[in-house]
């Protein structure tokens, strides 16, 4: 069996039949690595956390490889796992930060260690602006505008109806606009 010729769903089924991380699972990792990494980096905005999250996503995919029921596209399922993993990490990070009572300046300094400040520039400001949103709304906005996900895909990933998804994105945009409207 040549795993490169299989589509995502067939490859996932082949990985589910494997007893360990065999050729099908390795092929799945190769196929989704870049996309999962992109989602994790966008949502966590930090190379170290993104690496940790992306690895955790593939570990979860491996451990739950028999649970994919084929009700959605496999790629949507993978992206959903990636988003939920990142949200869990961000919530944990938020709780730790609250516990340590650090200032917001500290959090900006700790972000994106590998990225030069000038390169980060405006995008970093934008990411800071999104911090006023709750975790899910922030993730939805980033996936919608940075990764060009459709409302339908977002609705599946977040387990919402399409109209609820549109409304949350619109409200999140309005919230940012109201909060920073005077400054921009």
């Amino acid at each position: 069996m040549n795993v490169t010729e299989l589509n995502d769903e067939e490859l996932a089924a082949a990985a589910a039949r494997e007893g360990s991380d065999g050729p099908a699972f390795v092929a799945l990792v190769e196929r989704f690595r870049q996309r999962v990494w992109q989602i994790c980096y966008r949502l966590l905005d930090n190379e170290h956390d993104a690496n940790d999250a992306a690895q955790e996503v593939f570990v979860r995919l491996f451990l739950n490889r028999g649970k994919f029921e084929g009700r959605s596209k496999y790629s949507t399922w993978v992206h959903g796992v990636a988003v939920r993993t990142c949200l869990t990490i961000r919530r944990g990070r938020g709780r730790r930060r609250k516990h340590e009572n650090t200032t917001s300046d500290d959090s900006i300094d700790g972000r994106a260690p590998g990225r030069p400040a000038a390169e980060a520039g405006l995008s970093l400001d934008l990411m800071q602006m999104l911090e006023i949103l709750d975790e899910e709304d922030r993730a939805m906005l980033i996936l919608k505008y940075a990764e060009s996900y459709s409302h339908e895909e977002l609705a599946e990933i977040f387990g919402l109806s399409v109209s609820a998804c549109k409304m949350r994105i619109s409200r999140a945009c309005d919230k940012v606009q109201k909060h920073f409207g005077d400054q921009k």
């Binding site: 980096y41 690895q55 945009c173 606009q177």
Partner: protein, 81 residues
Amino acid sequence: MATDLFERLADLPIPAPPPTFNKALHQRLNNRLLAGQLLDLAVRGFGFALWHLARAGVGLLTLTLTGKFEPRSGDGPRPAP
């Protein structure tokens, strides 16, 4: 304003995944599987030991109270007829 602003999110550069990603992933996966199997073994082993100790305890109590203890089949060598 908002839509234009958010569309600039796509301009944020994304670095490539680290070259050691696959190796680190398989290391992590192996560690997770090993931990899971050790936990499974510990839980099952503990359950097995607890079950046998409990049976021995019940047997001792029965013998103390009634003076009789009849081992069930499979509990050890049967007495010669």
